[in-house]
Amino acid sequence: MESLQFTQGIVNAILLSGTLALVAIGFSIVWGILNIINLAHGAFLMVGAYITYWLFTLYGIDPFLSLPISMAIMFVVGYLVQRYLINMVIRAPLLVTFLLTFALEIVIINLATFFWKGDLRSVTPDYAGLGFSLGNVQVPYVRLAAFFISLILTGLLHVFMTYTKTGNAIRATGMDIDAARLQGVRIPQTYALTYALGTALAAGAGTLISISFPIDPTMGGAYTLRAFVICVLGGLGSIPGVMMGSVVFAFIEVFSGIWFPSLKDAIALLVLVLVLIVRPSGIAGKAFYH
């Protein structure tokens, strides 16, 4: 392989790892705290991307400025979905919530296809194609910005979970629900808040993705799958673990794309299979949320 392609691959992988971390972190807190494998995660991401697209196309709102809007809207949506839908079956076995989020994903994608059509769409601000070169390696500004925003959001989540009373209540609920209730934590509200955070993070990732890549109603599934693999890689429910898992996964994806372009998705799943066999607790090996 040429060294240029190799260096560009490294840069691309690093840029990709930021977005993937943002996608996976929301998936991870919902899984870790609520014990729900949220298959609708990618669908929320897609809706976030469309919010940005419509705000840009209809009102000319800069896609980066639409980030808080898309996150806020989907925060509310996530809260309501958990509180009034998923909460009804929260005591049911994992399979029931799994199926419910699967159904939710299909409904959201179908509604999106119905209202917005299945066409590929792009968010194209004036600066979309700009970038800079490091030697021969190209670095697009929007992807670099997306990378740093992803890191900032992930960092903010970490600070929230570690240093605020509410964040501690969320973690406590994930570790021992009865003990959390005995400290006065209200579980339904805490669950809804956690799900809302996960949904908002998915939407934020959707916004950032929509600036760099074309979007369509089915775009989310691939991200749900990646988030799943990253959580397994990084060990469930640890923010550093998710970051590590995202980097590893991004490198595997980018380089398998360079070496075996047609096997890209298969390799993601191959990694999943290998991790489950070799080290089921993930790289970080943490069993629960920290």
Binding site: R171, L182, G184
Partner: protein, 234 residues
């Protein structure tokens, strides 16, 4: 302060508590004793609102609390140190202790109480930034008591503090509980070590297969031949 009348509690079809009547007065230390599976923890969980009773009444300072959500019962002033400690294993000792004050808004008082529990258990002060899961059994129990006290409850329910701990550690923990009692806190002690419980308590209730079968002043029960035979092994 607490008045339980004709309380019946069931897990689904299986009834665990039958017509339980119990009363705790302000500043009193009451022991609840009984064999494993008698329903002691079930009674505590029902008082704290983790379980809903099938029928009956629980009044706390005149307010009916049976069936209220756990956070409202805690807000009214009933705190619990649950059996088996139930610490948040991945959180630090400090985070665990501060979770006890989750509902409190009086920051200054919370700080004072934090200093008080560290005074009570100096070992916790040395371990503040350690994950609670890495503590020894005795330290975990101290952490759980500290967390329970941080809610500043009017009535504290403590469940099996001595379980699985060395006698010296148990003594250490009960010395701390005694200090709390001296400050005027009302305490309900559930304890499989009947001698220990009766030593601490003013009065006691004996729970047997879900029913209160005996009650009275602790020193009288200590001399009761049935208690001696069944629980004290004398």
């Amino acid at each position: 302060m607490l008045k339980i009348t004709d309380l019946n509690v069931a897990y689904g079809e299986v009834q665990v508590l039958w017509d339980v009547n119990m009363e705790i007065h302000e500043s009193e230390v009451v022991a609840l004793i009984g064999a494993n599976g008698a329903g002691k923890s079930t009674l505590l969980y029902t008082i704290s609102g983790l379980l809903k009773p099938k029928s009956g009444s629980i009044q706390f300072n005149g307010t009916e609390i049976a069936g209220l959500p756990a956070d409202e019962i805690l807000r009214l002033g009933i705190g619990q140190v649950p059996q088996g400690r139930h610490l948040f294993a991945g959180m630090t000792v400090k985070e665990n202790i501060m979770m006890g004050a989750y509902l409190r808004k009086d920051k200054q008082k919370v700080k004072e109480d934090f200093d008080f529990v560290l005074d009570l258990f100096p070992r916790m002060g040395e371990r503040l930034n350690q994950p609670a899961g890495s503590l020894s059994g005795g330290e975990q129990q101290m952490c759980a008591v500290a967390r329970g006290l941080m809610a500043a409850p009017k009535l504290l329910l403590v469940d099996e503090l001595s379980l699985g701990l060395a006698p010296l550690v148990v003594e250490n923990i009960y010395n701390a509980v005694e200090k709390v009692i001296q400050r005027g806190m009302t305490v309900l002690i559930v304890e499989q070590d009947v001698f220990l419980a009766l030593e601490q308590a003013d009065r006691a209730y004996v729970l047997d297969v879900g029913r209160i079968v005996m009650s009275g002043p602790a020193d009288e029960l200590m001399e009761n031949p049935r208690i001696k035979e069944a629980y004290l092994g004398i």
